[in-house]
Amino acid sequence: MSILYDEGQHAIATESRRALEGRVSKDDLLPLLQTSGRYHENFWTTAKEQGWTALALPEAFGGLALGLVELGLIAHQAGRSLSGAPFLTSSFGAAKAIELYGNDTQKARWLPGLASGETIGAVAFAAGPDPLPARPGVALKAGKLGGRAVGVSGGLFADVAVVFADEGGTSVLAIADLAGVARDAIDSFDNSRCIADLTFADTPAETLVTGEAARTAALHILALQAVVTAHEQTGGAEALMETARDYALTRKAFGQPIGAFQSIKHRIAELYGLVELARANAIHAAAREEQDDFIIAAAAARLSATEAYDTAARDCVQIHGGIGVTWEIGLHLHIRRSRTLALEQGSSFFWEDVLVDRLAGGAA
């Protein structure tokens, strides 16, 4: 962490935590797993009411003109209490793409709705394993999109998507109204993410950036989302670490709290380390948004956060023993979410490559 939160930022953290802890519980979230096509409406209503959707967008379009640091604080709390919808990240990503690369008409059309939360945005870059494919699966031709974007988080409810597409052999970042686009809900292990395959067929779209710059822009948007997600992952890991600690303090075996056994206490201490490293990297990355080294900082934050949440999910369940794998206790909500978030903005493999390319001066 190379910044210290100021008073306003501390207030955002406290307030968002209070709001979420009161309104999101595992009893709401568990049923969402068993059906596709539903998200936690109360979560999203809260996000809109609290102005979280507007937080990092420009004032001219209804935003609050704060930045990634503040949005990160919200995402951290959403991660702690397991947010019930993916739009905080996906709408932010779409909005930033429009803000940074769109023209005034495009901004005026989309940003106010995205800021109020009435419009939901999605980001459709990935083609399966590849978060930023050399040859995207969606093609732009004469202002119309065609092809299939697979596994788009939030895609089931999004009004607008920023799409990474192929235009006659070069890359293009385009924006499309999703009103008429066919969506197939994906039955996933974490259904409240509202993941869908989007099938574009003569879908009108406008170009934001083309050529090599489109790739750079797409990576920048992905990195912005990755930093938000890193905060969310860190929040989830932190909650699991605390849950594990609390359980280890109360659960007894062989006449003493299981937290007195070194295998348990050292495992939790290692989680503490992973959480603090992830936190430090996430806050640092958020503070570097405008700097040259932003992609490096984002990649480091992403890698630490994924490792922390994955490990915490594995270990927290293990520390709980049998009770940890029951449906009702809901730890599997974190198991599922940890994997969803690990995949949504590109796997660790991808970010390792992004990071090393930059550290090694573009080799490979």
Binding site: A126, A127, G128, P129, D130, P131, A134, V150, G151, V152, I186, D187, S188, F189, D190, R193, I195, K252, A253, F254, G255, Q256, A260, F261, S263, I264, D310, R314, V317, Q318, G321, G322, I323, G324, V325, T326, W327, E328, L331, H332, I335, R336, R339, T340, A342, L343, E344, G346, S347, S348, F349, F350, E352, D353, A364
Partner: protein, 401 residues
């Protein structure tokens, strides 16, 4: 061909012939109850063909063959995904214990025959909410009641209890002595008044384990399978049998070949993933680990064949294989990227990475957590001291809750 090779060839042919009726395709889409009914028919077919109770005595309906024939058959059987999961525990632990410790031999014979034919299922009532790893700390109690006993309390994590006809159970009959000395071992009728079974839904979505409540359940003393206060030893014998249940170096998840296939299909950083050092390392390390476990298992078989007792290294399989399966499954999802989101709750652990991944935590905990297994290795094999256990030697009813 050796006799065993002949036996294997015959078993393989029989298994093949069962595929149309009982194989994966035949099971697809069945509700659990329908699948169980199919399973009972499969178990009967096994019995009729001489593949049930392969190494059990002939006078109890078994085939009187050796452990090697048993695992040879199982090796063939596991290739096809038959509906045999409902009988694994029943025939694996409680029924063998009944054969060994049941006092009424006529009753025993009748039960064993019905269990072998899939007509009756047995469960094992050990774990309790208060202590997963601490078997001797159980609280379910049996008090004398006339000439018999009256059971009160709660068990948990009981696999297939909802379909079971009988169960074996360890209960506390004397709370005034040290915790492992006051236990007694019984069998119970799962349909008896006062027994309530409540399935527990697990993280992956299925419900094969249960809570079982005992509310003044009365049993006669002929249900007793150990001396009064001597139940811990019989319970340990049950757990020892558990060790010899079939091992799987894939940790009961997908075979490594499936990971290699995936890595050939998918591209990473612009090249086939199979060319990426990170993936290659995982494949190589997992191969070496599994090859080691396979060699250990093969050696154990050779030793049994030679009339020797296999070494303690056989206990590594569960610890090492399931833990690494969890991480390998995560990696397989990473490799698939957004394609990995599509999820089928009913897919098989053995060929679906998401299913393998989400059920891995259950696999790591069931049958002994990593910590318990490491303690066992350290204490039993290496002779390291037991952990501090404040409740050691203290009368059970004086241990602070």
């Amino acid at each position: 061909m050796t006799d065993l090779e002949t036996y294997r060839a015959k078993a393989a042919a029989w298994c093949e012939s069962m595929v149309p009726t009982f194989g994966k395709a035949a099971r697809k889409g069945l509700a659990v109850e329908e699948d169980l009914a199919l399973g009972r028919r499969y178990q009967k077919a096994k019995f009729d063909a001489g593949y049930a109770g392969i190494n059990w005595p002939t006078d109890l309906g078994g085939q009187g063959l050796g452990h090697l024939e048993k695992i040879t058959f199982e090796g063939e059987e596991m290739k096809h995904g038959f509906p045999n999961v409902y009988f694994g525990i029943s025939l694996g632990m409680p029924v063998p214990v009944l054969m060994q410790f049941g006092s009424d031999r006529e009753f025993v014979k009748e039960r064993v025959l019905k269990a072998l034919q899939g007509e009756e299922i047995w469960c094992q009532l050990f774990s309790e909410p208060s202590g997963g790893t601490d078997l001797a700390g159980l609280r379910t109690r049996a008090e004398t009641d006339g000439n018999g006993w009256k059971i009160n309390g709660q068990k948990v994590w009981t696999s297939w209890a909802q379909y079971s006809d009988y169960g074996v159970i360890v209960v506390r009959t004397d709370p005034t002595v040290a915790k492992h000395k006051g236990l007694t071992y019984f069998w119970v009728d799962m349909k008896a008044p006062g027994v309530t079974v409540r399935p527990i839904k697990l993280a992956g979505g299925d419900s094969h384990v249960n809570e079982v409540f005992f509310d003044d359940v009365k049993i006669s003393d002929d249900h007793r399978m150990s001396p009064v206060g001597g139940g811990f030893a019989v319970a340990l014998a049950t757990l020892m049998i558990e060790r010899y249940v079939a091992t799987d170096s894939a940790g009961f998840g997908p075979h490594l070949d499936l990971f290699v296939d995936l890595a050939k299909e998918v591209r990473l950083n612009g090249r086939p993933a199979i060319e990426d050092g990170r993936i290659r390392q995982q494949i190589a390390r997992n191969y070496a680990m599994r090859a080691g476990l396979d060699s250990i298992n093969r050696r154990a078989r050779l030793m049994m064949q030679a009339g020797m007792t296999p070494g303690p290294e056989g206990s590594l399989n569960k610890l090492v294989a399931v833990r690494s399966r969890q991480k390998l499954s995560e990696l397989a999802l990473d490799l698939q990227g957004t394609d990995a989101f599509a999820f089928d709750e009913h897919a098989s652990l053995k060929d679906d990475w998401a299913s393998s991944w989400i059920n891995a935590p259950t696999g790591r905990i069931a049958g002994g957590s990593d910590e318990t297994l490491l303690n066992t290795i350290a204490e039993r094999i290496l002779g390291l001291p037991q952990d501090h256990r404040p409740d050691k030697g203290i009368p059970f009813n004086q241990i602070p809750a």
